[in-house]
C-alpha cells in the first residue's frame, strides 16, 4: 500500500490572506492587553488591516481576513466559542455586511474614514444586538449605548485616518516582509 498524500494547491492570494490575517491577529492580541474601563470599548486596530485589505484586494479577501482573525484570535485568547467570541464574531459579521454596502459609495466623496466609521458602528451594533438579545436582555445596555457609540465614532475616525495615510504613502520599493516560501525539507 502506498501512503496517499493530499496536496492542497496554495495560490499567491492564499499566502497574502494568511499574511494579512496574521497581522490582524497580532493586532487583536496586542489590543487584548490594553486595559479598558468598559468591556467592548477597544480601538479595533485589526480593523485597520481589514480596511486596507478591502480597499486593495476587495471584499472577499477582507471577509477571509476578518473571519480568520476572529477564529484565530479566539483560539489564541482562549475565548473560542465563549460569549466574548460570539460577540466578536457578530460584530465582525455586521461590520463586513456594512462594508459590503459601503464600498459602493462613490469614492470621490467617501474615503477610508467613512468606511472605517461605518464599519465601527456596524461592529459595535452587531455586538450590542447580540448582547442585548442573548447575554443581557433588558434595559441595562441602554445606558451604555452613548458610550459605545462615541467610542465607535472616535476610534472609527482615527483608524480611518490611519488607513487613509497608509494608502496615501507612495508604495515602498522593496518588500516589507520576507517571502512566504517554506524552507525545503531534506
Amino acid at each position: 500500500m502506498t501512503p496517499s498524500a493530499i496536496e492542497l494547491p496554495v495560490t499567491a492570494a492564499d499566502r497574502r490572506i494568511a499574511r494579512l490575517a496574521a497581522l490582524a491577529i497580532g493586532l487583536t492580541l496586542a489590543e487584548a492587553a490594553i486595559p479598558s474601563p468598559i468591556p467592548g470599548v477597544k480601538p479595533g486596530l485589526a480593523n485597520i488591516v481589514i480596511l486596507l485589505v478591502l480597499l486593495q484586494y476587495g471584499w472577499r479577501a477582507a471577509a477571509w481576513v476578518s473571519s480568520l482573525r476572529v477564529l484565530a484570535g479566539g483560539l489564541l485568547l482562549g475565548s473560542l466559542f465563549a460569549p466574548g467570541f460570539w460577540l466578536s464574531a457578530s460584530g465582525a459579521l455586521v461590520s463586513l455586511a456594512v462594508l459590503a454596502l459601503a464600498q459602493h459609495l462613490p469614492q470621490r466623496h467617501f474615503g477610508p474614514v467613512s468606511l472605517s466609521v461605518l464599519a465601527a458602528f456596524g461592529h459595535i451594533g452587531g455586538q450590542l444586538a447580540l448582547a442585548g438579545w442573548w447575554l443581557l436582555p433588558g434595559a441595562a445596555l441602554l445606558k451604555l449605548l452613548p458610550i459605545f457609540a462615541a467610542a465607535a465614532l472616535i476610534f472609527g475616525a482615527v483608524n480611518g485616518v490611519i488607513v487613509a495615510r497608509l494608502l496615501a504613502r507612495p508604495a515602498p520599493s522593496g518588500r516589507q516582509s520576507a517571502t512566504c516560501i517554506p524552507p525545503s525539507i531534506p
Binding site: 459609495l105 462613490p106 474615503g111 474614514v113 461605518l118 452613548p146 457609540a149 465614532l153 487613509a164
Partner: protein, 120 residues
C-alpha cells in the same frame, strides 16, 4: 486627501447619532411605576413591567388606562376635550396625564422623583 466631503457628512451623522443616543439614554429619569388616582385617592399603583390594561370609574364614565413595559397612557376617557388621551405615552418620571372632568390622573414615578412636588 484624508477627509473627503462625504467623510465629513458621515462624521457629522455619527456625532448626531451619539448625541441622539445620549439624550435617549440619559435625557431623563425613566419611570418604573404608574400611580392612578380617582377623585384624589390612589386607586392603583402598578409597575411598568408587563403590558396590561384596566379601567377606572369617574363621575363622567370609565377611563381606560394602558400599561406597557416602560410606559403608560390613558387610552380612552369620556372627557370632552380628550387632553389626557392626546398626551399619548408617558415614560419619564414625573410625567402625568390628568383627566380633570373625570377626576382621574395617571402619574409616572421613578426610583428618584424628578420633582419634589408639582402644582397644577
Amino acid at each position: 486627501m484624508l477627509l473627503r466631503a462625504g467623510d465629513v457628512g458621515v462624521l457629522l451623522a455619527g456625532g448626531g447619532l451619539v448625541i441622539a443616543l445620549s439624550v435617549l439614554a440619559w435625557g431623563g429619569q425613566r419611570g418604573d411605576t404608574a400611580v392612578i388616582r380617582a377623585a384624589g385617592q390612589v386607586v392603583k399603583t402598578t409597575a411598568l413591567t408587563h403590558a396590561h390594561a384596566f379601567s377606572v370609574d369617574g363621575p363622567l364614565g370609565t377611563t381606560r388606562i394602558e400599561i406597557e413595559p416602560g410606559r403608560a397612557r390613558v387610552a380612552a376617557d369620556p372627557s370632552p376635550r380628550q387632553l389626557c388621551v392626546k398626551q399619548g405615552w408617558l415614560t419619564q418620571s414625573g410625567q402625568a396625564a390628568l383627566c380633570l372632568p373625570n377626576q382621574v390622573s395617571l402619574e409616572i414615578h421613578g426610583r428618584t422623583a424628578a420633582y419634589d412636588t408639582l402644582g397644577y
